[in-house]
């Protein structure tokens, strides 16, 4: 018996190396599952589920439509912070293809994706905001929908508002710059 003691001690020591606490019987986000047939622990939303936010899903803010037409105004208050948020989202989600200037020369387009239209050309400038919102939400042509990547409708309107600012800036002349700031602009160039 005494001779077995060291072996017993060694066994107990090794048993303490189990990883039960590290790997507990629960799922981490997006972990694989052997329980569900499709192998996912993240379950898809059952059909016909209505999320709390979707209860208002058919008004202008959620669709871009107003009285059977695309809204030609932006239905949320346009503030400086909204524009800045829009710039932020535009640079993340739109600029890879459309370019930071919206001219259609983003890096992904340069590498072979077909060139999107210039977002500051005459046609794009005439598009009603509701239409642009709807394109972001549902996609258009070769462009996939961005509703999942920009889930907050306010963020999508922020992008629309920023795009309007971008269009203005692309067609701005020196006369649009306040006199006090013109010298500053010259210095930057």
């Amino acid at each position: 018996m005494i001779r077995l003691l060291p072996i017993l001690a060694a066994a107990m020591f090794l048993a303490s190396c189990r990883q039960d606490m590290h790997d507990q019987p629960r799922y981490k986000p997006l972990a694989a599952s052997t329980f569900f047939a499709d192998g996912r622990s993240a379950r898809p939303i059952p059909a016909h589920t209505v999320a709390e936010d979707q209860l208002n899903g058919d008004d202008t803010v959620h669709t871009g439509w107003k009285n059977g037409e695309f809204d030609d105004t932006i239905p949320v208050p346009v503030t400086l912070s909204l524009l800045q948020r829009g710039q932020d989202r535009f640079d993340i989600f739109c600029s890879p293809c459309h370019g930071r200037l919206g001219d259609g020369h983003g890096m992904v387009a340069e590498r072979g994706f077909h060139f999107p239209a210039d977002l500051a050309d005459d046609r794009s400038r005439r598009l009603p905001p509701g239409y642009i919102f709807q394109v972001i939400t549902n996609g258009y042509g070769g462009m996939g929908d961005y509703g999942d990547q920009i889930p907050d409708v306010n963020d999508r309107w922020a992008v629309v508002a920023y795009l309007r600012a971008l269009q203005l800036s692309r067609h701005a002349t020196m006369d649009d710059v306040p006199t006090a700031q013109r010298a500053q602009l010259g210095a930057a160039q």
């Binding site: 606490m21 590290h22 790997d23 507990q24 629960r26 981490k28 986000p29 997006l30 972990a31 694989a32 499709d38 192998g39 996912r40 640079d91 993340i92 989600f93 890879p96 293809c97 890096m107 992904v108 590498r111 072979g112 994706f113 077909h114 070769g142 462009m143 996939g144 999942d148 990547q149 889930p151």
Partner: protein, 216 residues
């Protein structure tokens, strides 16, 4: 009967005691080295994936923002792995027939997920939240390293508790302005101790080192 042990045996016995202590120290030290080595922590070990996805190409060369794919990082504890659909935003047209992307197209065809290998796997008794770190000025590259220079993704840091505490004890050393969080190439300024201390004050960052902060 003559003495079995010679006189020198006393010294040998004493030295062997010392040797025993030495052996225990060696085993303990060796175990520590193994436990802290990349063999255990997986630090710096590139992980094989079903598609050899290159962050170096996407985030580095193309300059795509982290959040284009990891969309939930600002709002959720978990920074999501992008859905197949997000890859397809570009790869519907680019490399659309490349054999290397067949698992991606298969995923789109069948609706089954791509079985990516998790690169950063914290122990299950650790709570970690991405959004709070991102909002308080901790940059992606602080914990994930220069992902934009990784052709195949690996874990840049050891992810040991000691490593977490290093920042939790003194956040001023690592915090950066919020608008620089997603900048992979960010270099802390020379006067980081001054700038960092100001940011800690401005962002109301607390030095949280109680056990229940992470073990909840």
């Amino acid at each position: 009967m003559a003495q079995f042990f010679p006189r020198t045996a006393n010294s040998i016995a004493r030295f062997s005691l010392l040797g025993l202590v030495g052996a225990i120290a060696c085993i303990a030290g060796g175990s520590y080295l193994i436990v802290e080595s990349p063999y255990e922590t997986r630090q710096g070990v590139p992980r094989e994936q079903p598609i050899p996805f290159s962050h170096e190409h996407h985030a580095g060369d193309l300059g795509i923002d982290c959040r284009y794919c990891h969309t939930t990082v600002e709002d959720s504890s978990f920074a999501n792995i992008p859905a197949t659909k997000i890859c397809m935003n570009c790869h519907s047209q680019m490399w659309a027939v490349a054999p290397v992307l067949e698992p991606l197209r298969e995923s789109l065809r069948t609706g089954r997920s791509i079985a990516w290998t998790r690169v950063h796997d914290l122990p299950d008794f650790v709570y970690f939240n991405h959004s709070i770190h991102v909002h308080n000025g901790i940059g992606c590259s602080t914990c994930h390293g220069r992902v934009d220079k990784m052709p195949i993704t690996w874990q840049a840091e050891p992810l040991r508790m000691q490593w977490c505490l290093d920042c939790h004890r003194n956040p001023a050393r690592y915090v950066r302005p919020r608008d620089q969080v997603f900048n992979m190439a960010y270099q802390p300024p020379r006067n980081q101790d001054v700038v960092g201390a100001e940011l800690v004050k401005e962002y109301h960052i607390q030095s949280l080192t109680s056990c229940s902060t992470c073990h909840r």
